[in-house]
Symmetry: C2
Subunit: 451 residues, 2 copies
């Protein structure tokens, strides 16, 4: 007999077609005994974040005393039963005919995922078992929708997926936060884990026009914060002939598209998150983006706004400074109350490949979200060979290492632009989770490498 | 005026709707002068593998002498023109009204991607420019269809994408071909690049039931062959409650689905590959798979077949041996003339997590393709805690390191199965390319780390 997934049974409007016995497999999430001897089980097979209720009448089950009485939370079972509408709710329930225990719980009293509440800190210590909780199941479902929505968005627009290399000999932005690979004799040169696929992606943009990548990125980031991981996933895109305005439009459309997909496919998960966080704004935070409430503003203007409120901040700021998290928080959560796109940063705080404007700024943009901070960074790439070399020299980088990057400007150069988006950071905003370590199955960060 | 992509113009049946001047941007792939002064350009913007022909009548173009005469292959241009049906073929052509050169070629005589034929070996040395060739554009398009088809296949069946970690402290199969990460003080323990995400993926299969991953995988493989990379991409899936038969069915359906998608979306690319390789069988090789011509056979039977032809092979084989590439070649290309699924390998040549059959074999399967060799490997995972520990001991692995993997068997264990597929290997079969270094944009292998 074919096994039916629980999501199908929860969602069905036609229980009539299941008149005969049906067959399910899954894990017990909860067990309740009643005074009259009836037992209620909540069963889940991962297909839904919600459980299906199973009703057991001991008198109607073979081997009840021998086996079924031993069922505890966490056991895996297979079950034959009849589906009925619950008399007390609009849910369905299964009346068990036959149950088989597939896997017991060794020492039920000490099972780490008992049905009670567990803190996220506790669950992080058992990352191999935490997908058994409703909260991590919920995050997995939303993460899955987000990745597939990103692929769908770019595929529908005829972008080509390009896998950029993970092991690299080049440090894209001259950053020092690189993981080194030990096997010197393997590559016969210094090898690092990539901090960005952008430069490699540009080689394909300068022939296929519209390309994107989605892959893991590494930073040997030593500061311990709730927004940093040593290993995370990044969406990067590069587009030939595109300017700043066009990539801003694409990045916004990408966000609208993904958020719509999540509301469409994960409405129940979003509602659960509102309950979980006791925060009614989660749905609203998504709808705000879908309704295109994103503020676009120049760096110059941002500095003026912050300077007016100077006394409220611990970090002083002037033209040419980085914008600090406390300012980002103020701007997105208090002043504009929307995500903000900050355009045209000073050249001296941005990377060598950024295209200079006529003043001392570069044609760049950062998208800053409330609660999370920077999610997207991008801009126009310098396509003029002379200006590019000048920038490499200003930033004191080793020009020789960029020979192939320079070639793109020597041979049929074109204006082009692109951006990168931190995948788990966007998930933080969507799910309202406070720690990025809960948004990736097995987080890696300083002093932590488990599972 | 909005720029139109060249694919749209090549494919359109209604040139009437483009009556007015249209606007395109791209790179010149070829330039031909005629005796009567007309110039033909082949232009490409990466949207199609085919070029669009542009006809220039010098008398009708402003600034012709000053600018346009300097156009060479590789230049980037923007162009205003009128689309017409070619009088000589069923193709379209653009009659130029206005041309602007966006980027010249520095020293056209030495431009590395001249319109002549370039060997694949030569192109590998200029991996940053090779996407400008028709062959690498073709591979990029097919690779893109393959990745999106894989995601589509699993998403349609409600599998959840799980990003398994790249940096790991665990060596999945006890292999020595691991890249080590240098920063000892970062993680405070030995850190490696992953050789498989399987064990981590199993933790999610044991709660979400159907999960998959697609990400980069690393092997410090020192042998130089045309089928090995130090960094490649792998599709992995793990399915709770599934047995060997079921994962064989899923893996075959996955192949049928992907191959169909490629024939549907990349028919022109496949035809071009037939011309490129002067091999009419390429289309046929794909259709064979779609028509489900895959042979399923037990390891025991394979040994009998090979033993009968023993004298033809340089490596002797007996029950318990690995099957060598020369045998795989014979079986897939001569004996069966199909891909083969070899089932139930001897336990001693397979990993500790494989589920033992009643004899000395494990419930496993390898899918071997003609020309390429192993593409898929998988099987049932040992779900019994006692048997798993016994296997860990037999393979002389450090049992302590697998504490969390053992937990999956302690708490509500279920039968489960999965497989992994080498992405670039499958692409090798589809494209009939002979060297795997041409199937990934920036290959990494022993003594080679460029771009």
């Amino acid at each position: 007999m074919k096994c039916i997934n629980i999501l199908k049974l929860i969602k069905t409007n036609k229980i009539d077609k299941y008149k005969k016995h049906l067959y399910i497999k899954g894990w017990i999430k909860n067990k309740r005994n009643t005074k009259i001897g009836i037992i209620f089980l909540d069963i889940n097979d991962g297909s839904s974040i919600n459980n299906l209720q199973v009703i057991i009448n001991p008198k109607k089950i073979k081997n009840f005393k021998k086996n079924i009485i031993k069922i505890t939370s966490g056991c895996s079972i297979s079950l034959k039963g009849v589906i009925k509408n619950s008399p007390k709710s609009n849910k369905k329930e299964i009346h068990a005919v036959n149950i088989k225990i597939l896997g017991y719980i060794e020492n039920p009293e000490t099972y780490p995922i008992s049905p009670k509440y567990h803190s996220l800190e506790y669950l992080r210590k058992i990352s191999h078992l935490r997908p058994r909780t409703k909260i991590i199941n919920t995050i997995s479902k939303i993460r899955n929708t987000l990745i597939f929505s990103l692929h769908n968005f770019f595929q529908k627009r005829n972008f080509i997926w390009i896998p950029t290399p993970i092991i690299t000999s080049l440090d894209t932005e001259g950053s020092s936060k690189l993981f080194k690979i030990k096997e010197k004799n393997f590559f016969k040169k210094k090898a690092f884990l990539t901090v960005s696929g952008q430069l490699n992606l540009e080689t394909y943009a300068c022939s296929l026009s519209k390309v994107y990548n989605f892959g893991p990125i590494f930073r040997a980031e030593r500061s311990i914060t709730n927004k940093h991981l040593a290993e995370f996933w990044m969406l990067e895109t590069e587009i030939a002939f595109a300017n700043l305005k066009q990539i801003i439009t694409i990045s916004k459309n990408m966000l609208y598209f993904c958020f719509k997909q999540i509301l469409k496919k994960n409405y129940e998960e979003i509602i659960f998150l509102s309950e979980y966080h006791k925060n009614k704004n989660i749905l609203n935070n998504l709808e705000k983006i879908i309704n295109k409430k994103i503020t676009e503003i120049n760096y110059n203007e941002i500095i003026k706004i912050i300077k007016k409120k100077e006394n409220f901040f611990s970090s002083k700021i002037k033209w040419g400074s980085n914008i600090f998290p406390e300012h980002e928080k103020f701007l997105t959560e208090k002043y504009f109350k929307t995500p903000i796109i900050i355009k045209n940063f000073p050249q001296k705080i941005k990377a060598f490949y950024m295209k200079k404007n006529i003043d001392n700024t570069v044609s760049s943009m950062d998208i800053i979200f409330p609660f999370v901070g920077e999610i997207i960074g991008g801009g126009e790439r310098e396509e003029n060979i002379k200006k590019l070399i000048k920038n490499i020299k200003i930033k004191k980088l080793n020009e020789k290492k960029y020979w192939w990057y320079k070639d793109l400007r020597k041979y049929g150069t074109v204006k082009h632009s692109g951006f990168g988006m931190g995948f788990e950071r966007l998930l933080m905003y969507i799910t309202n989770m406070k720690n990025i370590r809960d948004l990736i199955p097995f987080p890696r960060y300083i002093n932590y490498l488990k599972f």
